[in-house]
């Protein structure tokens, strides 16, 4: 699994003020994990490389968005644990 300097876990929809705050804090060695309402962002273009951007599968499925993201970018809760454990730091936005 890829290891990030900081893993940013974002559970806010794109209109939320903390959404843009989170994007502004993402450094070049960081990863982004979209959860809960954060997964709504997969319908939009994000200024982050696809290899560094993930979304939580159950939240995508719940919102009918599974087809919007390739399988290598979707993670289960097991995958979320792996990402959160291997990153040097985690910020929950």
């Amino acid at each position: 699994m890829i290891s990030f300097k900081t893993l940013h876990i974002l559970n806010k929809p794109p209109e939320h003020s903390r959404f843009s705050l989170c994007l502004a804090a993402i450094g070049p060695e960081d990863g982004l994990l979209l959860t809960e309402n954060g997964v709504l962002a997969v319908t939009q273009r994000l200024a982050i490389h696809r290899e560094r951007c993930f979304a939580l599968a159950p939240d995508l499925e719940a919102r009918g968005l599974s087809a919007h993201l390739s399988s290598d970018q979707t993670v289960s809760f097991d995958g979320m644990v792996g990402l959160a454990a291997s990153a040097q730091n985690v910020i929950s936005w």
Partner: protein, 116 residues
């Protein structure tokens, strides 16, 4: 272990900011390095001249002014947000420092957390 507590909620209209301050003061009380960063509408916590008596709340201005005495290392204010809310350095509480928000800032801390 250094911690940055971020406050992005404006004062008095929600309790999140107060509970974030409690977190920062608790860390400081246990001699853990902690700084506060005010972002977005949260920069309004730092405006001089607050009087919350008529909204029946405690003014946080005195608490914040005493933050360095309690052991909080820095009161940081996001420069973009200060610009949006018309806050120059002279409008801010003593000890507040205007700074740029981004990974260079958050990377300086081991923990970055919100209260809610």
């Amino acid at each position: 272990m250094s911690t940055l507590i971020i406050i992005d909620q404006p004062p008095y209209g929600s309790w999140d900011g107060r509970e974030a301050l409690d977190m920062a003061f608790s860390l400081a009380a246990f001699d853990q390095p902690v700084s506060l960063l005010f972002c977005g509408a949260g920069v309004n916590w730092l405006r001089k001249g607050q009087d919350a008596a008529k909204v029946q709340q405690k003014s946080i201005e005195r608490n914040l002014s005493a933050a360095p005495i309690f052991g909080v290392e820095a009161l940081l204010a996001d420069s973009d947000a200060c610009g949006r809310y018309g806050l120059a350095e002279s409008d801010l509480l003593e000890h507040a420092i205007i700074t740029d928000f981004g990974p260079e800032l958050t990377n300086r801390f081991d923990h970055v957390a919100f209260a809610g």
